[in-house]
Assembly symmetry: C2
DNA sequence: ATTAATTTTCATTATTTACTGAAAGTTCAA
DNA sequence: TTGAACTTTCAGTAAATAATGAAAATTAAT
């Protein structure tokens, strides 16, 4: 396979995987493009490479910045803004975990806590309902702790540490 | 909060969380409904509870069965099919992990392996590209091992084991 | 074998989500 | 302080995804 072909394949497939995870296809593609770009690139570069509109690039870049995955770069002597993505994959992963935890896991745990406060806990079926809710909450809480550890740990320590114990 | 209200809230919110994770809203709602149903229920029950069409229920139920999250139940003396979901949340989680691993992680690792086979590895920019690809592949492989351990482990062993080491 | 009950399929329709492009806004050099 | 370069917004449109409902297929009781 040619390098250019491989790069294109990477971008496209990354977009496809993204959609499966509830991430906008274009956003995933832009991130992929930035991951394999050796130097910072502009909105126009992205428009051209992915053949998408200026507005689309702009909105998704801002989203990516909001996720902490992309940064603006100022190139001295240049008027245009440049963008770059962290190439350290462990950092990318922990950043995504951190954000999803905040955006999704935390709200979910909050909701489950509220659902535990039902008026009449003796009512028909209340026990079963509360069991399911508290079990999910418990598992969610444990996932939360585990992910916190991952976020704080260094890659090597975390993975090798876990694998060691269970082997 | 009233029990019925809490149940409704649970179903709706579960649907909303589902969409964030790339899961069809209705499918998540049906799963939620089955999780908090004390006895097996029929397609008609689901249609009524969620006010959705027969075709919709049927397709999503089949999907859920495909994910290994829902089972058909035969009630003796009844013509209709009944459905039920495993209430053991750890089992639900490992089942979902198992399926997503198979459907998403495995294909991704396969793709990345292919992308490493580019013709001219001396070409301008090839080194950087290959580094990103192999880093992702490495992280993916480690995630794969970790998830395998989770799938095999008992809930208590896994969580407490991991937390213990890193505390 | 017939037929009534039930499940499944899938073309059509509706809803949701994403994208475009032009206009408005901002920045900065002269 | 003007205007060219560049960025941002967002109403309108397109594309993707999900839901409907009626017809076809299947099942099982008589």
């Amino acid at each position: 396979m040619k390098l250019e072909e491989a790069k294109q394949q990477f971008i496209n497939s990354w977009g496809a995987f993204g959609t499966q995870w509830g991430i906008n296809r274009t956003m995933a593609q832009i991130h992929a493009l930035l991951l394999i770009s050796t130097a910072p690139i502009t909105q126009d570069d992205i428009m051209e490479q992915l053949t998408i509109s200026r507005g689309n690039v702009n909105m998704n870049i801002r989203d990516l910045i909001g996720w902490g995955l992309v940064e603006r770069v100022i190139v001295s002597g240049e008027r245009k803004e440049y963008f770059t993505a962290d190439k350290n994959i462990w950092k990318v992963a922990t950043q995504i975990i951190k954000e999803r935890k905040k955006r999704e896991l935390d709200p979910m745990l909050k909701l489950l806590g509220q659902l535990e406060n039902i008026d009449d806990k003796k009512e028909e079926g209340a026990k079963e309902f509360l069991t399911v809710v508290s079990d999910i909450k418990k598992l969610g809480g444990q996932a939360d702790s585990l992910l916190d550890i991952m976020i704080k740990a260094e890659e090597n320590k975390f993975i090798s540490g876990v694998l060691k114990i269970f082997k």
